[in-house]
């Protein structure tokens, strides 16, 4: 496994795709803080939520890992890397796990590249306030890492089972886009409170507040349970959580993510073991 990992890391450092994605994310980090600077100085925004900018890279994480994983593992398939590894005596489990570990580390490096770009632009222009205003940054970082590993487990499974690089890339990228849409839909669903306050115009033409009105959009019963399950399982929901203001971090989420990673990796490995590698 140690040899496989060192071979993979040696390939990673020479991978043009890895450096291209790292560069793009680094630039994106800088652009995000340029936008924050424009919002504050030109448009006069005062209550800017620091987490939205600092953890913005989490949104690109899914598509970035989908592309990287499919190209990295797909090349190994098309160039006969897997066949060679098996023929020199490596077992399939270490091959699978070494790729999973590599993709997870690549994902964390993508996030690091985003933060380097963000801090390189943010600190000189906006000062240390951008770090001091962060809400629960360490838990946010932990959740970002959980999202990285879950994404890596998912895309690694797809790429290890589909030897067609183009198809694996398309499937991975489409899943990443739909996961992001799903996470926004889930967070919108949870955003509706049980009771709302409404404004109404009275007979004299003045506005008055009507409090504790039951909200028809509030998620309750089975629907809420389904939304909670989706929220606990989707990696895009874990990635989105640090971006949201006043987000809660339930203790069961890391546990659910661990179960989900185990299930994905087990399924992926069982099917990969039966695959005819040419």
């Amino acid at each position: 496994m140690r040899k496989l990992l060192s071979a993979n890391f040696s390939r990673l450092l020479r991978s043009r795709f890895f450096w291209l994605i790292t560069g793009i994310l680094c630039c994106w980090g800088g652009i995000v803080y340029i936008m924050m600077y424009i919002n504050i100085t030109k448009l006069g925004y005062t209550n800017t939520e620091a987490n939205v900018y600092f953890f913005n890279g989490n949104l690109c994480l899914g598509p970035a890992l989908a592309i990287f994983t499919s190209f990295f593992i797909g090349t190994e398939y098309s160039d006969g890397g897997f066949r060679n590894k098996i023929s020199v005596g490596h077992r399939r489990l270490p091959i699978y796990l070494s790729n999973l570990i590599l993709c997870s580390i690549a994902g964390i490096l993508f996030l690091a590249a985003f933060w380097i770009g963000a801090l390189a632009v943010g600190l000189p222009t906006l000062g240390t306030e951008i770090l001091l205003q962060l809400e629960k940054p360490f838990i946010g970082f932990l959740y970002s890492c959980i999202a990285v590993v879950t994404y890596a487990a998912l895309f690694c499974m797809i790429s290890m089972l589909d030897s067609n690089k183009a198809r694996a890339a398309v499937i991975g990228l489409l899943i990443a886009v739909f996961l992001i849409i799903g996470s926004f839909a889930t967070s919108n669903g949870f955003a509706h409170p049980e009771f709302t306050t409404r404004m109404a115009m009275n007979a004299e033409g003045a506005y008055e507040i009507l409090e504790n009105i039951p909200n028809s959009k509030y998620l309750s019963g089975t629907r809420r349970i389904v939304y909670q399950c989706v929220d606990a399982l989707l990696p895009s929901c874990h990635a989105l959580r640090p971006i949201m203001s006043n987000a809660d971090y339930p203790a069961y989420i890391p546990f659910c993510a661990l179960v989900w990673i185990t299930v994905l990796t087990s399924c992926g490995f069982v099917l990969f073991r039966r695959k005819d590698i040419k």
């Binding site: 183009a166 398309v170 886009v177 003045a206 028809s216």
Partner: protein, 293 residues
Amino acid sequence: MKVWKAITSPWLEVVAMRKLLTANFFRLWKNKIFWAEIGSTALLSVFIVIANYSPKVQAMENRLYLDDVFFTMYQILGFILATGISLIVGTEYSDGTIRNKLTVGSTRTQVYFSNLIASVIPSCFVLIVHGIITYGIGYFLFGSFQMQVGQVVTALLCALLTAFVFSALFVAIAMNCPNKAITAVVSLLLVLGLVYLSSAIGNALTEPEMTYDSITITMDGVQFGEEIQNPAHVDGFNRMLYEFVYDLLPTGQLIQMYCQDFSRCARWPMFSMVIFVLITAIGFLAFRKRDIR
């Protein structure tokens, strides 16, 4: 002899193109990706209509009509077409079919335009399947369109032209990139970027001109502060530029259809046709100079 050549050459061109088109459509008909494209369109259309239906909402005054649901699917039209076209045309490149076609005497013009036509027609199929399913199920759940018939026809025509623009764009990428995987990824990322850019422009254009410096909610009611100029409001030349780009991009037109904002739809067909011709010209010129292996 020269006259005879002048008379026969366009005819030979058409005959050769006809053969290429027949081959392309024969392949398309047997292609699993094409059927997956049509199947996913059908499934997503059904899902969107059913997911939007709620008997509780339909009983209320501000109920949904077919107009509110019909154009939702257009938001993901680019992704569906990018996947299908990049994989179908990309396979042609990576399997050496394009090289073989050129070897047996077809010209690059014939190869490029036969692939373009063979990509535009499936795009029409995607829109037809979506239209039939969404109207078929949506009519029973939401009733008919509230828009006028002319407006619906204009919207459908504009959607068809945006599908043509998407097809031209993805064919131009696929015909100039020998790696199928890179073609697919570039096409999908391009759509993602266009959607992001269009929504950012759309959001900027909806910023009101005036805003309040503060809104306070007290026990006596809501108190609005002084009315001030909104710094995020776009006006003057910038607004004209934003609107131009918003109308020019196919994703911008589709977002406006989804928002049922047809105030500038008169210029959409012209913009789409110009973009279609421009992308095809650039794609074809680049393809003519490519070294096909």
